[in-house]
Symmetry: C4
Subunit: 186 residues, 4 copies
């Protein structure tokens, strides 16, 4: 009903970096038939920002003007797909997960930037380390972020991901699908 756009990340601030999480909804394109089909998939966007002092995080506001090159490497995103969210929400207290993305896939920079997100249990099941490694062969950079996440914070992530998953899949716009072609029903 409203066209307002909201910015409401769930942010976890820790010593060396912050991790903030917010869903990105899919976009839709109209088919000839009049139906809307997912054009760009939704995701859960994880954003890592390094701390530049005690409890200060460099969101690159001023830097954006002064050192726009530096900014590129200051923030790092990782967009979890629906299936990767499924992996996260089904993790038990001692499970690990690791996901690999290549942002240049199928483009001219295929294989040049490699991102990996790892979720590893902390000792005595007291939470998880969520880490991001970005190896950029174009900029010759190698960045690492690691944010310890408590059991309570991870419970929020799981609950929020479970809530957001159908929206990321576009299922909150549920309606009857196109008649199932000439396939046999039931």
């Amino acid at each position: 009903p409203t066209k307002d756009r909201f910015f409401a990340p769930y942010a976890i601030y820790k010593g060396k970096a912050s991790l903030s999480v917010q869903p990105v909804l899919p976009t839709f394109a109209k088919l000839d038939s009049g139906y809307l089909k997912v054009a760009r998939r939704g995701s859960m966007m994880l954003t890592f920002v390094p701390a530049i002092g005690e409890r200060k995080y460099d969101y690159g506001k001023k830097q954006e003007r002064l050192f726009s090159f530096v900014l590129i490497t200051i923030l790092q995103n990782f967009a979890l797909s629906a299936t990767e969210i499924g992996s996260l929400i089904s993790m038990g207290p001692n499970d690990s997960s690791e996901f690999f993305h290549d942002p240049g896939k199928l483009s001219s920079t295929d294989g040049q930037v490699r991102k990996s997100l790892s979720i590893k249990p902390l000792a005595n099941s007291s939470g998880y380390f969520i880490g991001l490694t970005v190896v950029n062969n174009i900029l010759k950079t190698n960045e690492r972020f690691s944010v310890p996440v408590t059991t309570a914070e991870f419970a929020v992530l799981k609950a929020a991901c479970s809530f957001a998953l159908p929206h990321i899949m576009g299922w909150n716009k549920l309606t009857n699908p196109p008649a199932a072609g000439s396939a046999v029903g039931s």
Copy 2:
């Protein structure tokens, strides 16, 4: 609020076939009393499509015109009822389920087409095989599909089915039901 119809299946592409899943909402009919009652039940539609090459799936677009007979047997659907969805979402990692449908039930083709959907755990709890067998005594065909589904993909299916279940039951349109007749309250 909007009349747009959305097409947003959750699709799992594997070597020999793809499985895509999308809810079908119930339809309602107006009763004399003015109340709307479920006319056709909702379901979770599972669609199996065979792969016709490496990572290509035959959705029958062109074929629809050229070989409309063939298309009939290319796609196969299986519509899970609310109770069958309840069975799926309550499955533990080592549980199996099997569902049987007769699309011609109570019609002149009663018993001529038999469909069975089976969900069986993979070795070492790493996911499930979701298989569909369709025996069609009219066309003298016997088709089998089998799609291995990872734990993460099954977690998406479970979460998506849990989200969709109340919509499939029509409960997202919740409102106060008709006064409980002359029955004793409480």
Copy 3:
């Protein structure tokens, strides 16, 4: 947005009786302050109907005109409160629950009609018996209903109750509550 009223019970048909379940939303009354407060609590309405033949259930349509007295005892309702729903959704596979209601409580018929709903596990964790006993000292009747419910059907009941619970509590109308009086914040 719509004023239509929907009738979409989840019904379980078994040999001797059917059990159908549908939420009843709370009603609200406007306070002097302009706030809306719950006037009548919501509930999950369970309706038991005896089978009057093989797979036929007596919903009392015709009877309503002919034998309106009989109808009173044909249907029996039991309205689960929010806390009773909490009890149901937290039941493990071997747990039992029993709830007692007095529909005439605090009225002139206090204690004259006693209803008890029991949920008991079936052998080998294959589901539950859901039974209702109604002892009516005014009509000198004593009715019993018992419906065996499979694990899958109970999973639907749990999922549907979990979905409906916030609606029954009125929390789907969430908004900022009245300023917290003169109480100390935080």
Copy 4:
């Protein structure tokens, strides 16, 4: 769609005090970019009220006029943050939690009022004690509330908190977030 404000707490009435729970939604402020950002975080508000007689609770209506000083200490609130809600909803039957708040934090009364909320399992896993202690060095008061909560009531709290959490985080207003600056995508 409606501007009506609703008052629909989930209330647990016990011998010495009542505990009522209702979410408080976040407020949003418009950024220069046109995006809405969370201005004041949402929370789950727990309100403890002492019983002033058998099953009567002192909501301070009359007292508010007569003894406004007394009222200040009659009600006590505790606003759970998103992460504290995460802690509550991930509690197992034998887990404990304790949360500390300083309502005067970063103000001139920093450290003068200390609130602690504790959730402790009852014997034989039959529920929890939810207790609030408020030490007010300004008023020289020390208040304690303790409400025994059954397993069923706690299940309602968990389910209601799980439902409310995304609303408290502002995620029910989900939409596509601002373009991710100049950060590398994927």
